[in-house]
């Protein structure tokens, strides 16, 4: 029996605040099965656990601290013009704290 279930997929969808149709749920399940088979193949590669995971395309990023200079931020009028519900100089959004 598969370790992936319809309920599990719905649970993940809920956590992501996404609703799925029955058909979409089935597509996810099928895809999980395929990926799981491929991951089984990956696990057959000898000493795979000793390989350092590659997290980015290049390994030589040069990071630096910017000079501590004051800069102009985005123009407030531009931001207000971009918002749907504006009251004076404030943007109105739904209540997002319980």
């Amino acid at each position: 029996m598969s370790k992936f279930t319809k309920e599990m997929v719905d649970d993940y969808a809920n956590k992501l605040l996404i609703g799925l149709t029955e058909e979409e749920n089935k597509l996810v399940l099928d895809e999980f099965e395929q990926i799981d088979k491929q991951i089984d193949l990956i696990n057959e590669i000898p000493n795979i656990e000793n390989v350092t995971p590659m997290t980015h395309a290049l390994d030589n990023f040069v990071t630096f601290l910017r000079d501590d200079e004051a800069k102009t931020s985005d123009d407030i009028d531009d931001i207000l013009a971009n918002a749907k519900d504006v009251e004076g100089r404030e943007i109105q959004i739904p209540k997002v704290v319980d």
Binding site: V28, Q38, I45, I48, M54, T55, A57, L58, F61, I93
Partner: protein
């Protein structure tokens, strides 16, 4: 007479000599865009009020171009081809757009893509399927579908794309044009919607290698707004573009390119691989050394799942801000949780939802080692193999996809694992950040097919010069799509 079929250099000459004006070019480009929209649905927005630009010594000045709809364009609708951002108008430009503005380039369209770049078919955008201008029963591939379609149809000489797996390079092949993504970070990603940040590249689609070099020279450069960008001032792609064969060595991967890997191959795949081997012979005739190399089949066949796992994980995180609260149309509900759920359920396409769930699953603490970390380990093993190849060879050459553009009804057709690997393996260039270019190399059943050249990081000039040499020898540069009626 059409001007938009010409190359950037030809157009610049005509503009400088006063034989045409930027206004005339913009008018022609817009007219062609409207015509193509009727036929192929390539655009989210046609910028009818686009203003002509002053012609300067900059090769791009006064010339129209197209932009994939995930590049932020100030004051112009930028949707990512998603219902979740269907009305979003940014108040700033992506860095690449700022640079092209300074060059005097004229933006005339925003092009349709697969939703947020996810999916390789050009069928998941919120404005509908992009049809291939060579055969309207077929796809353009994606995700830079509209950009490829419009350049192939002669709406303008070039359009911008993005490439996370092969999203510039496969549409280029399916549409008979050139698609180039430079080394990771050569072009700033600032202002382009992130999809899978460790794999996302910006690039260009054009009808010849030289035009790609001209455009990327203008787009590239270090940007303090993108910490992964780097200083490329010593790389001058256009100035250094030349035919080079002496001492050049390419390799191709036996497991991908040998027909014996595909016992169930259809006629199109057989012809595609035959054509690829003719291209190899052409390289040898030119004096380029080409060798066959072998790569572990198990590793090759793991590449596509590796790609899905990594990009799903990164995308589910990157796009968690798409809630309808801070961007996009607000969902209908009494409380913010249900509002977000309504927005995301109705806004995202099925494909995106599937990928988010997979991404979330592989990132869970109990699953991370088996899925996400192992995918990242495969990424390193594969990249190390390619880096080893680059010690001996200038580039890896390979066929693009498993034939010409697929029929719309065949996009979900299942294939055996080896065939899927051939279709999807160009993501290796995203894993390693390698410069990678597709050029047209002929026809299968009267439809264009492409060949890809991928080299080592920062070796963009070399990769482009090899592509330029081969392009001139193959004779398929500057193609404009001609609708094929006999392909059933």
């Amino acid at each position: 007479m059409s001007n938009m079929n010409k190359t950037i250099k030809e157009l610049h000459e005509l503009l400088k000599n006063g034989e045409i004006t930027s206004e005339e070019l913009v008018k022609e480009s817009l007219e062609k865009a409207h015509q193509l929209q009727e036929e192929c649905n390539a655009f989210v927005t046609i910028i009818d009020d686009a203003n002509p630009e002053k012609v300067t010594d900059n090769l791009l000045s006064g010339i129209p171009y197209g932009i994939k709809d995930n590049y932020s364009t100030k004051g112009i609708l930028t949707t990512g081809s998603s219902n979740t951002l269907k009305d979003y108008v940014p108040y700033f430009n992506a860095t690449a757009i700022e640079k092209l503005n300074k060059a005097g380039a004229v933006k005339v369209t925003k092009t349709v893509m697969d939703e947020f770049g996810m999916g390789g078919t050009g069928t998941t955008g919120h404005t509908g399927i992009v049809l291939n201008p060579w055969d309207k029963t077929r796809i353009c591939a994606g995700s830079s579908a509209g950009s490829a379609c419009a350049v192939a149809a002669g709406v303008y000489p070039y359009a911008l794309g993005t490439d996370t797996g092969d999203s510039i390079r496969k549409p280029a092949a399916y549409c008979g044009i050139v698609g180039y993504k430079p080394t990771y970070g050569m072009i700033s990603r600032y202002g382009v919607f992130p999809f899978a940040s460790s794999l996302d590249h910006l690039g260009v689609l054009a009808r010849n290698v030289e035009d790609c070099a001209i455009v990327v020279d203008e787009m590239k450069g270090i940007d303090e707004k993108d910490m992964t960008s780097w200083d490329s001032k010593d790389i001058n792609l256009f100035a250094n573009l030349k035919e080079e064969t002496e001492g050049k060595k390419l390799c191709y991967i036996k497991e991908l390119c040998d027909i014996s890997s595909y016992p169930n191959a259809d006629e199109e795949l057989k012809l595609h691989l035959e054509n690829f081997h003719k291209t190899i012979q052409k390289c040898r005739d030119l004096g380029i050394e080409v060798e066959e190399v072998s790569v572990d089949r198990k590793l090759l066949n793991a590449l596509f799942s590796t790609y899905i796992v990594i990009y799903s994980a990164e995308a589910s995180s990157n796009m968690s801000n798409l809630t309808g609260i801070i961007f996009g149309p607000r969902g209908n509900a009494d409380n913010y949780i249900d509002m977000i759920k309504d927005h995301r359920t109705n806004g995202f396409s099925t494909l995106i939802k599937r990928r988010f769930i997979i991404g979330s699953y592989v990132l869970q603490k109990e699953n991370m080692e088996r899925y996400f970390k192992n995918a990242q380990r495969i990424r390193r093993l594969a990249v190390d193999i390619w880096k080893d190849l680059y010690k001996k060879y200038d580039a890896v050459i390979s066929p693009v996809g498993i034939g010409p553009a697929k029929k719309i009804e065949d996009i979900n057709k299942s294939h055996d694992t080896n065939t899927v690997t051939l279709d999807e393996y160009l993501c290796i260039a995203n894993f390693g950040g390698f410069p990678s270019i597709t050029i047209p190399n002929g026809f299968v059943n009267n439809l264009p097919v492409g060949v890809n050249i991928t080299g080592n990081c920062f070796d963009d000039s070399n990769v482009l010069n090899i592509a330029y040499t081969l392009e001139n020898a193959l004779g398929y540069k500057n193609q404009i799509a001609k609708e094929v009626k006999n392909n059933e």
